[in-house]
């Protein structure tokens, strides 16, 4: 699917007219925010483990429908909220960014789980993207591995709070010249090109983890391979039962 044309639905004239009338705008604002906050339709889009908790949130025990957010739309065009639920790999990241670009304004993103926030436990993987916020802006970060379904509901309420704080005149998507469509990274020979989008993300100033262990943690890096050919004493070769020595505590 190609890039899409963005057509703003509120024109400038209407906006300036609204600006003059304080009370009207205030109520309009309230109405607008109320409409958006009570009808957040997420995209039916799961990546990994957290997606299961996302489904659990939609299921009977937690029932995200109470917030009016159970209509999981399969098409990005019709959804308001992208829940990035799970590890974003380098192979998947271009698709996630493209999906974000395909969504219609106003759009929100919740990163659910450690993996999508910063790579999480899989941060050292050669194919793991260290956080989807390197390419797209995120509204709510929701840590946990995986977050409980209640935590997702809490994240949703956090998003609602954020929506409540917005005003119709200052919302990003009605501003002129603001681009909410981000270039889709490409798969290069060693990883993604670019490694991050500097408009959205900048490296941490002090990264203790990197300082201490290096970029990926490779504490298992070894120079000597085990020699399996060496005969083992007191061990019949063909049986699978091993009578190896006691694991030694150092």
């Amino acid at each position: 699917m190609a890039f899409t044309e963005n057509l703003s639905s509120v024109d400038g004239g209407l906006k300036s007219e609204l600006g003059k009338k304080g009370i009207v705008v205030a109520t309009l604002n309230e109405l607008y925010n109320w409409g958006r906050r009570s009808s957040i339709w997420p995209m039916q889009f799961g990546l990994a483990c957290c997606a299961i908790e996302m489904i659990a949130t939609a299921c009977a025990r937690y029932d995200i429908a109470r917030f009016g957010a159970e209509l999981f739309r399969p098409s990005p065009r019709q959804s308001d909220l992208m829940i990035v639920a799970g590890t974003v790999t380098k192979k998947m990241a271009p698709q996630v960014v493209r999906l974000y670009n395909q969504m219609a304004e106003p759009k929100y993103v919740i990163t659910m789980g450690a993996c999508s926030i910063a790579g999480g436990p899989f941060i050292d993987g050669y194919n793991v993207l260290r956080g989807i916020d390197r390419y797209i802006p995120i509204d709510v970060h929701l840590p946990g591995c995986p977050p409980r379904p209640e935590a997702l509901l809490y994240g949703l309420m956090e998003l609602q709070r954020k929506i409540d704080g917005q005003t119709i005149e200052k919302t990003e998507w009605y501003q002129k010249g603001l681009k909410r469509e981000y270039p889709v990274p490409e798969c290069g020979p060693h990883g993604l090109i670019p490694k991050f989008n500097p408009e959205v993300w900048a490296p941490r100033e002090v990264d203790h983890r990197k300082e201490r262990y290096g970029e990926p943690v490779l504490i298992g890096k070894k120079d000597k391979a085990p020699n399996l050919d060496a005969p083992v004493a007191a061990r019949p070769a063909a049986t699978s039962a091993s009578s190896a020595s006691q694991p030694s505590a150092s």
Binding site: A48, C49, A56, Q95, I219, G220, K222, A241
Partner: protein, 385 residues
């Protein structure tokens, strides 16, 4: 006229095949699986699976950390069945370091593994129905039961999904009598739910129409393609690692292996239902026989609970496998005598079960592809490990 009628056969319309790209973001590819489908109208002519969208380098990461630290990572392999993943990994390491597991821990392991099987099969059937187009109802019923079992997991291990409960030579926490009592209640009530679930599904004409004689997998192909788990048994091959290897204490329980007739989607669905009944039998027996007290971790391994980094198995290799709900889950571990394994490999059942996806789908409609994929029961965390 040339355009409309084909050059080779003037009486036939000149048609073009349509290339469709399913996924990686698609509502029913169970995650980030992708299929390149070439179809003629709606009939599938060729299908190429593309994976790796969730390749999160489990093996590389595991080779860079201590043996015990990989345990929580195995949870995230097949994220429906963290307990059976734990089981497989601890079996492999126990084989490697020759560790005995105390009696009570064995029982707890079996109970947890079978509960996991219930969780998996019931949700898989729910998702299969979702793929068939039911509006979430079977999934929600399945997840309702799943929640009840997850409550047990949470109470036992501390987490709903990522249990990290098994330890080499035992299990992590004590399981209190009141939890055992609750498991007994669940086991008692589960058949009633299964009955309702079956009434909802098994005889439903639409389900039968969609599932019977769709995606047939012949016996010979299943064996040659290393298919395992309910999918293999639905094709009529009697091979269940719980019976073959009799690992842990499965040799003590009486249960049967349901076998399918034709190996189509319906058989795979129904074999799973029957397997749940058998799992309940195992649970029944295990709950009756479990010793009231006993140690949880073998004496040899107890000191390493506090300091997993000091656990150094002797140089050697081991391949431990269990009958995970999705098939044979194997872990191949090579130790070089240091705290980190030299080689750590996962034999992921749903990854290998995908081998014959194309063979099963050819000639069927696009809608069937989704159903066949659903009946294979894949979890992308495991496929792409």
């Amino acid at each position: 006229m040339e355009k409309i009628f084909s050059a080779r056969d003037p009486s036939a319309l000149n048609t073009e095949t349509l290339e469709i790209n399913f996924g990686p973001q698609h509502p029913s590819t169970h995650g980030v699986f992708r299929m390149n489908i070439v179809c003629d109208g709606e009939t599938v002519v060729s299908l190429k699976p593309v994976m790796g969208y969730l390749h999160r380098n489990h093996e590389q990461i595991a080779e860079n950390m201590s043996y015990a630290a990989s345990m929580p990572y195995t949870d995230r392999l097949d994220y429906f069945n963290s307990m059976s993943n734990n089981f497989g990994y601890s079996l492999a390491v126990e084989k490697l370091a020759n560790i005995e597991v105390p009696e009570r821990a064995q029982y707890i392991r079996v109970i947890m593994a079978e509960l996991t099987r219930l969780v998996n099969h019931v949700s898989v059937i729910g998702f299969l129905l979702n793929d068939l187009g039911a509006f979430f109802t079977p999934v929600l019923y399945a997840f309702r039961e799943r929640e009840k079992i997850l409550d047990i997991f949470e109470e036992v291990s501390g987490a709903r999904m990522m249990c990290n409960y098994f330890r080499f030579g035992g299990v992590k926490y004590e399981i209190q009598p009141h939890i055992l009592q609750r498991i007994k209640e669940i086991v008692k009530k589960f058949p009633k739910f299964l009955e309702e679930f079956e009434a909802l599904l098994s005889k439903n004409e639409i389900l039968c129409m969609r599932c019977q004689n769709v995606g047939v997998l012949p016996k010979e192909l299943a064996v040659s393609a290393s298919i395992t788990g309910p999918m293999l048994r639905a094709s009529g091959v009697d091979y269940d690692i719980r019976k073959v290897d009799k690992y842990s204490i499965y040799g003590r329980f009486k249960f049967r292996i349901p076998l399918g007739e034709k190996g189509d989607v319906y058989d795979r669905y129904y074999v799973r239902i029957l397997e749940m009944h058998e799992s309940l039998k195992i649970l029944d027996q295990a709950l009756k026989d479990i010793p009231a007290t006993g140690e949880l971790v073998s004496k040899k391994m107890a000191p390493f609970l506090k300091s997993p980094r000091n656990f150094k198995p002797p140089v050697g290799e081991a391949y431990g496998r269990v009958e995970a709900p999705k098939g044979e889950l194997g872990f191949y571990v090579v130790s070089d005598g240091t705290p980190q394994p030299w080689r750590y490999h996962v034999r992921a059942p749903s990854f290998i079960n995908l081998t014959i996806l194309e063979d099963m789908c050819l000639g069927h409609k696009i809608a069937d592809v989704i159903v066949i994929l659903g009946s294979v029961d894949i979890v992308l965390g495991e496929v792409d490990h």
